[in-house]
Symmetry: C2
Subunit: 358 residues, 2 copies
């Protein structure tokens, strides 16, 4: 198998860590001997062993020695101490691994090329299989937190050609056609969490799950609800599905409703306000790296105004709603010129998708 | 020169007839002898000589005989009688032209291949240089009138991402950025007329002219104003520019204001109502083949509702106007699902263009 294909496989492994790595990046690793894969691993728990170590364990548990093996890893192996696990470089050296293909440099200032240097100085052959962009895309949440102490935020909304999100209701999935809905649902596989306002929960009772290819084996994003007075119904689908929802409220965490919701598996967090920045900071504390904000209109406006979105995804379905519609900007009290560039436009069925990025 | 390049040149000539051919198609023709262009012509006046005849006259006026020459024409030469001019096929045969390259078949049921047959039967070599699509695009107004007795109509509007066309005003060019405005202005070169409501004339006082490459030599589209009570100011730019504006009104054609406007070069047409279909039918009578409807919002809604648009061009600039804006659909009292398909989406500067066609 070619290096590039092996690296692709390692990235597929890395992705399995979504939602599990806490504030660590997602990393995947493969071990090879005589062109045969002998071990696979990914980083699957914050504080737990790194992908490289999991791949070594995988091989050794099958009774295969990794001496002389080749390691393929999506990220430069770590070399720093003073953290929950020992440096991977030392383990790689001690285990007698001969060659390391790495897909990206670790931007952590404590590593940043030092891991590779360390391996070289121990006569391990290192080969860069440039996948930096892949890694930066996969770990955009981790990178954003490292740089700005905030999660990576995408605002996504589907509207009609005249900017309407629904007929006097707060949000709905009834605007898009099937192809658009599928495309929009597919986005969810790339996020740790999906954020909505309580109005959306009450009006639409959405599942907020990814329902595309391989959904059964994937970690589902955590539902995040902004619900100042805890109006989330106890029988909401997001609660029944038990995907670890977080509900932000201004009420006491010990109120009757709080206790009931907590007993049903929700995390209830009291904040003094539900401003986007306050919420996002709290999400980092809860190990959320990426947030897909799905509306409705008020939530969209407040996130837009507070300028915390890294990416904006707009779907326009080929309908004019007319004057009975509720406009996406009904809560926006001033003109807002996007400081982002259009990075992608795409026809999806008979809808149009626009992507804006900083 | 290759056949295709010659045909391109003939189409450039044909385009010069925009606005001048009345209810006839635009046609261009070139005459060649020993690979040298000896004559050029286009159909330049309803009832006047056809492009082929103009090309022959052009050569002969320079003292060059067309005997044995090759003719390149965008459209199959006509062969039918009972019209203002004699059949071109006879002239071509009589003049001793040897070869004819033609770019498209004339869909007029009185011609439709019979012109070519006639030439062949006189031992003239005929070669089809397939430009049917070009011709159908260039003469889409002519074709629409032939089939439906209505002009070809494009609805065009620029709005913000939330569907706003302006702040409580009826229309404005201030929403788009320079690249979008240029692109939008370029469209005008392909229409006989530009239609707006009187509110747009009063609020924006637009020129309604094409201001792109070669604008000095091009026929400018006719401004069409829907103005039920003749409020068009006498000093409007469209009147000063003298591009033969047509003003549709419900007032008498002999009212004081009518007379004043007529004296300034306007055509005043009284209609019992200013519904899109009524207006469009009257435009055909006035030899208008193509209409670019530019707004504002009320005009847009009424054209959308009456389903007379062949094409819809929407520009979205990267701004959210918020709740002080006037929505494109403010006059649309019911949901309107487009029965057209997206045929093009394009990034223009930091705006998006969507084209819908039946």
């Amino acid at each position: 198998m070619k290096e590039k294909d092996l690296m692709k496989k390692a990235f597929i492994l890395a992705r399995k860590g979504r939602g599990l790595t806490g504030l660590n990046p997602m990393v995947g690793a493969i071990l090879l001997k005589s062109d045969k894969i002998i071990g696979k691993g990914f980083h699957q728990k914050y504080g737990g062993p790194h992908a490289e170590v999991n791949a070594i364990n995988d091989a050794e548990l099958k009774g295969i020695s990794v001496k002389g093996a080749t390691l393929v890893t999506t990220l430069e192996p770590c070399c720093h101490r003073k953290k929950k696990t020992p440096p991977c470089t030392n383990i790689i050296i001690n285990k007698g691994i001969k060659k390391v293909y790495y897909g990206s440099i670790d931007m952590n200032p404590q590593v940043q090329g030092r891991g590779i240097k360390k391996l070289k100085s121990s006569n391990i052959k290192t080969v860069f299989v440039d996948s930096q962009k892949n890694n930066d895309q996969l770990n955009r949440g981790f990178l954003k937190i490292t740089q700005k102490k905030l999660p990576y935020v995408t605002l996504k909304i589907c509207m009609t050609l005249d900017g309407m999100i629904f007929n006097k209701k707060s949000c709905s999935s009834s605007i898009g056609d099937l192809k658009q809905l599928k495309d929009s649902n597919n986005l969810r596989a790339n996020y740790d969490s999906i954020l909505v306002g309580v109005e959306t929960i009450i009006a639409d009772n959405p599942q907020l799950t990814y329902r595309g290819t391989g959904d059964k084996n994937l970690w589902q994003p955590r539902p995040i609800v902004l619900d100042s007075s805890l109006r989330t119904p106890l029988d909401s689908k997001i609660i029944k599905l038990k995907n670890n929802p977080i509900i932000f409220t201004k009420l006491s965490e010990n109120s009757n409703k709080s206790i009931k919701l907590r007993n049903l598996g929700c995390t209830i967090i009291k904040l003094k306000n539900l401003e986007p920045k306050t919420v996002l900071k709290s999400l980092v504390k809860n190990n959320v790296q990426t947030v897909l904000v799905e509306g409705g209109g008020s939530i969209f406006s407040s996130f837009l105004k507070s300028n915390v979105g890294d990416q904006l995804i707009l779907y326009y379905s080929s309908i004019f709603m007319g004057n009975s519609g509720l406009n996406i900007g009904h809560n926006l009290d001033r003109q807002y010129k996007l400081k982002k560039n259009i990075t992608k436009i795409k026809k999806i069925g008979n809808s149009t998708m626009m992507v804006f990025e900083s």
